[in-house]
Symmetry: C2
Subunit: 339 residues, 2 copies
Amino acid sequence: MGVVVSLDKARSPGPGLKPLLDLVEKDMDRLNNLILSKAHSHVDMIPKLARHLISSGGKRLRPILTIASAQMCGYDKGEQHIPLAAAVEFMHTATLLHDDVVDESDMRRGKKTARILWGNEASVLVGDYLLGQAFKMQVEVGIMDALEILANAAAIIAEGEVMQLAAAKNMDTTEDEYLTIIKSKTAALFAAAAELGAVVADKSERERAALRSYGNNLGLAFQLVDDALDYSGSKEQLGKNVGDDFREGKITLPIVLSYRRGNAKERNFWKRTLQDGDIEDGDLEHAAELITKHKALEDTLKRARHYGDMAKDAMAIFPDGKHKSALIETIDFCVAREH
Amino acid sequence: MGVVVSLDKARSPGPGLKPLLDLVEKDMDRLNNLILSKAHSHVDMIPKLARHLISSGGKRLRPILTIASAQMCGYDKGEQHIPLAAAVEFMHTATLLHDDVVDESDMRRGKKTARILWGNEASVLVGDYLLGQAFKMQVEVGIMDALEILANAAAIIAEGEVMQLAAAKNMDTTEDEYLTIIKSKTAALFAAAAELGAVVADKSERERAALRSYGNNLGLAFQLVDDALDYSGSKEQLGKNVGDDFREGKITLPIVLSYRRGNAKERNFWKRTLQDGDIEDGDLEHAAELITKHKALEDTLKRARHYGDMAKDAMAIFPDGKHKSALIETIDFCVAREH
């Protein structure tokens, strides 16, 4: 499938993840080894399924935040940031496994989802296993504040997922309500990941709050761009199906804006397709037309830039340096990314 | 549906849970209050669904083990055993929610399952939420050894569930392999629950190992009796459908024994029904006949008594007293129960 809604592509080559990746390169080898070893089990199906997801080309953005913020905070006393980063990635992976079951998704990052290859049952259970392993790694590190952050994040993420389920197919969802959902289901883990870097480096609440705020706002921006891409990227770029959110009846910000700005006839269209799930040929294209008409993608990205700006300002308390600039460029990368 | 295979019912009135329940009565009020408050969330669906399960008449056997063993170990310094017991119950509840999705079960304890009432999606996600809450409570208690025990249990339980999934429909499963599965998926949480009592009371490895062994063997006995009841209890007694395991193609010990003791024709019957899932009218009744013919239920219960005996001997190091006898009578109750 081609592009549904065109985004402005004038900003090449644009910001990248490279500065951040260069800084964490050495630690990433350790992280990847730890992730692979902890996804191991004498129960065959577990490493098979876990590795499918782990090696499927995710950016590992969340654990990288932990490692980079630990480095920025001057952590040099050991390697505790590595298992904490791995725990963050496992929590994320478990969420993906469970999400694909909940959303009945067939594709993720251009590959068939685990639930298609091994079934819903295995996806639920291996997700649980990865949560257990994440929990074990955190306990092995044994930093109480880190445990608290991740335990809170686990409960909040699940709460956000349930909120999203309850809001699904509800056209009355406001932008505020939608923000509450993505703050829980996406931004909470970004915030935890970044804050852990300060915790492992034994920094005070000042640095912790700054990195938490950075992560939270970066997470919001990241999710909003994701929402926009679902109506704009091509299948090849995005690695999942364009229009998935539409077909699943997911109310994301582009929809919230289009619905609120639409006339009665348009609102009936959204109700029929998303609320009642009655989708016919040509409806995705019509949805894209309405989104374009109401500038809903542009404004979703504008909102994303707003949170990106907040993330940048959160970083102000840290002295200038390679890590700070790389983390800031990461914001720009997330906001400008096309995949 | 009536009784499929009759068990010997000569042992009334028999041992009960009452001695144990009397001892923990005061703490149980605190436990129940904590459980209800921690199942709370501003997201409506979470308390609704969690309370459905929490109030559906489970025996709370696992958290009771934590409370009773803490009392037996002389714990009187505070109330940390309550949140630890609640965490154990939440981990159990989360497992039930996910299990019902994996097994596609319609009924549990005589009620419709959460997945039937609210859907698979909500069951997966609320299970995740309860795991997160369990994790949070453990972190709040902040006893590292307790965290380690429960983190290990979480990973082992999930591993056991995946093992069971992989073994499902495999008629070659040996008794040993089956034991490995139920040791992980069921006995691990019983063992953790009992050991936590010694941990919170700051007892040494000697007491911890004894209670771990008690819990492990009690859990094995409990699961084996469950397996037998699935082919013997009436729907009213058991609160779930008789023959559920059969219809789901679950290889439990009564099946392992019947298959191994059967002739070629009988083995073909088991392969057709359980391995290939080709079940016709009258097959459950025929399965029950074969199970009776090979004394597979009696021998499953005999094995259960064997583990029950091991659980009793594990208690030998504790001085005689009300708690010790109540915990021992609990073994007899679990082995002799008809529901």
